[in-house]
């Protein structure tokens, strides 16, 4: 019986633990200093908004861990000594392992802005960040104005959170539109409109230059790259995340941006693996990033590494890319490849509803007509169906007649895919495809 130690109890680490237990009788320990029990990080926003209590974010009942013989260690790993197969913990003790899985996740980026360490400047990633936010911005009296910098997923979630407590928000976005590096222009503009509809002061093409503080080292205002000063009590730093790996500095485990792993998620040390946000693939998958800090990648790496650790080596080879998000009231789902700017090799079809709150985009190869990706705002799509189409390399002309099969909207809803289909088929005639 091996002792498998997992650092980090997020979705990657916990998925690994659960699947190792399914497949073996090995001793499993999971270490975390964030919270004793696994919780859904993506749900933290709902705790602040009062949709849920913190305990609701914990997907398993507290006795689950004991009954599945997963030992929970509430501690922090200060360093790893691979030569002795030993971890040094903050509370002073050390822990021996036979196999180590590192799943320590990310931390919010801080790009060295002047004033970034003032009180009231924070990111939003961990439970502790949420507690800090509760202190920095409990209501509009304490926090009269907030500035968020970073036009991505966490930024818009933070804006929605603060908005729910009626705290006025200025949202600085470096690009010409929200999440413009991922969303094509019409989609990005749809979300821009939606953000503004909620009364958020959205500033496009605007970057944070510096943050100024008061005599108590609390944040007082931010200055933008347009030399404008915006008084505020909270600065949300949401310009992405990076792997949380400082504790490995002297361990001898090779790192770059994240912990470098091979196709089996193994680090440079034979019995040490890394999964989730903190892992960096030496050989990224085609069209994919070396570090993919998303929930789903973490979960799939956890599923995969569990096999390898239990002597059934499987390479990490996730299927077609998929992701999802919600921007205030508008849901987003994406499958396969949809480029923000259409490449020369592809053609794209776009449909938008009359009220401008829903849209669907499909991409296919210009030469061959092979379907390569699809995404939607305000319309739910079926993962299983589209995943199958991508695997089958379905031709666009075969796909369009059955487009409705990709619907996942609730019953009695407007048939958006039917409308989109009619629009796309006309467009195809124009394209003479």
């Amino acid at each position: 019986m091996k002792h498998i130690v997992i650092i980090g109890n997020g979705i990657a680490g916990i998925t690994a633990a659960r699947h190792i237990r399914k497949r073996s009788d090995n001793r499993i320990s999971v270490i975390s200093s964030e919270n004793k029990y696994f919780f859904s990080r993506t749900a933290l926003m709902y705790v602040y908004m009062g949709h849920m209590k913190f305990e609701h974010t914990q997907p398993y009942e507290n006795n689950f861990w004991e009954s599945n013989r997963i030992e929970l260690v509430e501690d922090h790993v200060n360093s790893v000594t691979p030569s002795e197969n030993k971890l040094v913990l903050r509370k002073g003790k050390s822990l021996d392992y036979d196999v180590l899985i590192i799943a320590t996740g990310s931390k919010p980026n801080r790009f060295g802005w002047p004033g970034q360490n003032l009180k009231g400047v924070q990111g939003l990633y961990s439970k502790q960040d949420l507690e800090l936010l509760e202190k920095n911005a409990p209501n509009a009296k304490v926090c009269k104005h907030a500035v968020i910098t970073g036009g991505g997923l966490i930024g818009i979630e933070l804006a929605e959170m603060l908005h729910s407590r009626k705290i006025p928000v200025t949202f600085l976005v470096r690009e010409s539109g929200f999440w413009r590096n991922v969303l094509p222009k019409p989609e990005s503009e749809m979300i821009n409109r939606h953000i503004r509809k909620h009364g958020i002061d959205l500033r496009l093409n605007t970057e944070l230059s510096s943050i100024t503080g008061d005599e108590n080292s609390c944040v007082a205002s931010v200055i933008t790259n347009h030399e404008e000063r915006i008084p505020c009590d909270l600065v949300g730093l949401t310009a992405g995340v990076s792997p949380s790996i400082e504790f490995l500095k002297d361990s001898g485990i090779e790192t770059n941006k994240g912990i470098l792993v091979d196709s089996h998620l193994r680090t440079t040390i034979e019995n040490i693996f890394a999964i989730g946000d903190c892992a960096e693939l030496r050989e990224p998958l085609p069209h994919r990033k070396a570090v993919e800090a998303v929930w789903y990648a973490g979960r799939m790496m956890g599923e995969t590494v569990a096999c390898t650790v239990c002597d059934q080596p499987v390479a990490y080879r996730p299927g077609h890319w998929f992701n999802s998000a919600k921007f205030f009231d508008i849901e987003y789902q994406t499958y396969g490849k949809i480029h923000a700017e259409k490449t020369a090799q592809e053609e794209q079809l776009y449909w938008e509803s009359e009220d401008g709150n829903k849209c669907i985009r499909i991409a296919f190869e210009k030469e061959t007509g092979v379907f390569i990706g699809m995404h939607a705002l305000g319309v739910r799509l079926s993962h299983m169906t589209i995943d199958r189409w991508l695997t089958e390399k379905l031709m666009i002309n075969d796909l369009l007649p059955q487009l409705e099969k990709a619907a996942f909207d609730p019953e009695l809803f407007d048939k958006s895919l039917k409308k989109a289909k009619a629009h796309f088929q006309q467009k195809m005639i124009k394209l003479q495809f």
């Binding site: 979705i11 919270n35 908004m49 849920m52 609701h56 998929f322 789902q333 993962h383 299983m384 809803f413």
Partner: protein, 533 residues
């Protein structure tokens, strides 16, 4: 800087902007004025023009609720409106919730057991609140009001006004809007107006019982009581038609509709108890208990109630049937043996075809309960003693008291603000138990999950009024097929990633789809795991 190490320090008691806007204050004032008039009437304040004051109070009450609701949602974009639910006292078991819960409970105790306090006078003119409603009752049915008439008016008004509030809240969701219009319609017409008008037809030689047509046995446990059967049979063809309708409702209509649509056709589209839970009870849906323990209790309690009602009804019908086989073909023996055979057949069919889908405790329970039923019938025949050991009247009285009054009324509705809005439907309703068995074993209905898109956030589980841990299925990519699911569709509505969908498709495959790895991961891994299973 801060020490937030332990779970307990995780107070996160937010301060949401809960203050009411001006229009909401106006709505509150209007509604409370209406309520205050009713309160004055309860304490026997004599109003000169009762029709005027009664209409006035009901209009004010309704207008207040509507003004409040419109003010709450008009400045908000269409979408999920759960901001601050767990910060507000009323919706998170705070002080206001307890006050309301205690008030409602006391109201139900008075309503069920001390209607004279509300002014009911069996022989003579009603006074107080019930007397205040006399003009409306006389207008509709020609009779003076009873406590049930007053309750019926307020109940219907609650479903209508809070139904509109619910529609405003979920105006982005057509399933929720249409479903709510349906419960509003059935409550107003079937539960309220039609029975009142039917009462108008009654004369000394023609007397239909008060019959809410959508109220099906065993929810309507008294439907086959002797006085009702007598009354049906004595009312000619119409009466007989109603009696037959009552029987085919449970034996034919119910299983057919449940096969196609799941129990939701009844529980969240038609039923009055469900209607109240979905409208005025909506703010409390998140309070249901999601623990495994609660689920275990639920399975035992609700099926015990079902057995209790079958037993009671059998004993009741048996008690008034004749021994004489010449007079009616349905005599005591035929009925008892028929019941025994039907139950045994039902059990065998489930046992043979659906045994794999029953958990261990369900198998034990089914066996135990069948043995009790058959045992009682045998004891009756072998000993020649009084049927079922207990006297039919006593059984019937106890059922009416324990289940009909205490469980469905006092606990079921009185405790809304503490235990959530579906306590009765989940733990007590024998109709829901029957529909649940049908749904679990024979229905096309299921909630499907969308591949690998679940992020385990837990909104679905929190807002499930039936206490189903929806997330535990969704995060495994498993379809949800639970006896208790009433198909309200809120799990699907609150899901931020579009993962859940209510469906009734013909596909027999993937009813339950517990792939250990979800769509999106390595196809080889999927194969590998399937092979291992």
């Amino acid at each position: 800087m801060m020490n937030y190490g332990t779970q307990k320090n995780m107070a996160l008691t937010g301060e949401p902007p809960v203050q009411l806007n001006k229009t909401q204050k106006l709505g509150t004032l209007t509604g409370l004025t209406g309520l205050f008039i009713l309160l004055l009437a309860t304490f026997n304040v004599q109003f000169p023009e009762r029709t005027f004051w009664l209409s006035g109070s009901l209009v004010l009450l309704s207008a207040g609720i509507l003004i409040f609701s419109i003010a709450a949602y008009k400045d908000k974009t269409a979408g999920i409106k759960n901001d601050g639910v767990w910060f507000k006292s009323l919706t998170s078991r705070g002080y206001l919730a307890w006050c309301l819960g205690i008030f409602l409970t006391l109201f139900y105790i008075v309503l069920y057991f001390y209607p004279s306090l509300l002014g009911l006078r069996e022989n003579g003119v009603n006074t107080g609140l019930i007397g205040f409603f006399d003009p409306l009752s006389k207008f509709l049915s020609g009779n003076p009001a009873s406590q049930w008439f007053v309750y019926g008016v307020l109940y219907t008004l609650a479903i209508l006004t809070f139904g509109i509030k619910f529609i405003l809240k979920y105006r982005h969701n057509r399933y929720e809007m249409i479903r709510t219009i349906s419960v509003m319609f059935f409550q107003t017409c079937f539960a309220f107006i039609i029975p009142e008008l039917m009462a108008r037809l009654n004369s000394p030689d023609f007397s239909l019982p008060y019959y809410d047509l959508k109220n099906i046995w065993p929810l309507n446990y008294y439907n086959f009581d002797q006085y009702r059967i007598d009354s049906f049979i004595s009312s000619g063809d119409i009466g007989l038609a109603l009696l037959i309708f009552g029987i085919i409702s449970i034996l034919i209509i119910t299983p057919v509709l449940t096969y196609f649509y799941g129990k939701r056709w009844y529980c969240s589209w038609v039923c009055g108890c469900g209607g109240l839970a979905e409208t005025i009870g909506d703010p409390f849906r998140q309070l249901s208990d999601k623990s495994m323990f609660a689920w275990k209790v639920e399975r035992w309690v609700i099926h015990s109630v079902l057995v209790f009602v079958v037993l009671t009804t059998t004993a009741t019908i048996y008690s008034y049937l004749s021994y004489d086989a010449q007079k009616y073909w349905l005599n005591k023996d035929v009925f008892l043996i028929g019941t025994g055979v039907t139950l045994t057949l039902l059990f065998l069919l489930i046992w043979i075809y659906k045994r794999e889908e029953l958990r261990k405790d369900a198998r034990y329970g089914a066996l135990a309960y069948l043995s009790i039923m058959i045992g009682l019938i045998l004891i009756h025949y072998l000993s020649g003693m009084n049927v079922f050991i207990f006297d039919a009247g006593t059984l019937r009285t106890w059922y009416g008291f324990m289940i009909g009054s205490i469980f469905s009324g006092v606990i079921g509705t009185g405790f809304y603000p503490i235990f959530g809005s579906r306590v009765w439907c989940r733990f007590g309703c024998p109709m829901a138990a029957i529909l649940g068995l049908q749904q679990r074993l024979f229905s096309r209905f299921r909630i499907t999950t969308n591949g690998g898109q679940c992020i385990s956030c837990g909104n679905c589980s929190v807002y499930c009024e039936m206490g189903i841990d929806v997330r535990s299925y969704a995060q495994k990519g498993e379809n949800i097929l639970r006896a208790s699911c009433v198909g309200c569709g809120i799990c699907s509505a609150v899901c931020p990633r579009g993962v859940l969908k209510l469906e009734n498709t013909k596909k027999s495959d993937q009813r339950i789809d517990p792939d250990a790895v979800l769509t999106g991961n390595n196809p080889d891994l999927l194969d590998l795991l399937k092979k291992n299973q």
